[in-house]
Symmetry: C2
Subunit: 148 residues, 2 copies
């Protein structure tokens, strides 16, 4: 079930949008609501289907646009795995992704700063990296908390 945005989440959305010169629109609110409702790294199609329950006229193109806008203003992260459909994730903290080979589910893995540092340290001089993507592929015992 998709519940409405809390006041806090609404402000968060508005602030991030306005900060990068974008507007709050009903469609963007709907898409953002869907993302926060189930933090399960949905694909565009999944977002689309869920959002339609709340806003039946919503078009797929708009979902693509909204998600792109959110990525642009740092509200969500894209998650790619192999060449499967892109997934979206509203977790802002630096984290890696663990993909369950069996179920296909994606779990967030917290990334301690030491690990980030040791990773950055393996770059030869002259290499300057902004983004580090880390993804595990394997099997996870189903004992899930919230990050599936």
């Amino acid at each position: 079930m998709i519940r409405n945005l809390t006041e806090q989440d609404k402000e968060h959305l508005q602030e991030a949008l306005v900060k990068s010169g974008q507007k709050v629109t009903p469609q963007r609110e709907a898409v953002f609501t869907v993302l926060l409702a189930e933090r399960d790294h949905p694909t565009v199609d999944e977002v689309f289907n869920r959002a339609r329950e709340v806003m039946p006229g919503l078009s797929l193109a708009t979902v693509y646009n909204c998600l792109e806008t959110f990525v642009g203003c740092g509200l969500v992260r894209q998650v790619n795995h192999e060449r499967e459909s892109t997934r979206y994730c509203p977790n802002l903290a630096p984290h890696a992704h663990f993909r369950d080979k069996e179920t296909g589910q994606v779990h967030d893995i917290e990334l301690p700063p030491e690990v980030m540092k040791s990773l950055r340290s393996i770059l030869p001089p002259g290499f300057d990296s902004e983004v580090i993507e880390i993804s595990f592929l394997g099997r996870a015992q189903a004992k899930d908390t919230h990050s599936n």
Copy 2:
């Protein structure tokens, strides 16, 4: 210029193929030759075009098939970045990839075992990972050795 496979490389190819119940074919040799000639993480299309210089009748589907076979018997690795075309890399040692934002080139980054270990250690209990993919995105001073 694409030179022929050394005897050593040929044996390497044959051994890996036979070990997984596959045959050595002229097409597979051609594709493998191309991969070893320039270790620049080519896309399927690039492999196709280069291989055609040597074997004009070669079809794109066969290049896909060959590369899939090679991946299956551990001869090469697939490299995916965002949703761009898959690239292929004959470097067998564990390594990360650094993608230059400007040029699009992919560089291999050696992965010391300590770093691998510290990465594996951040997985919560119950998570068992077989493959870890690490990719950097950033800018690299052009002072290239061989891994571009």
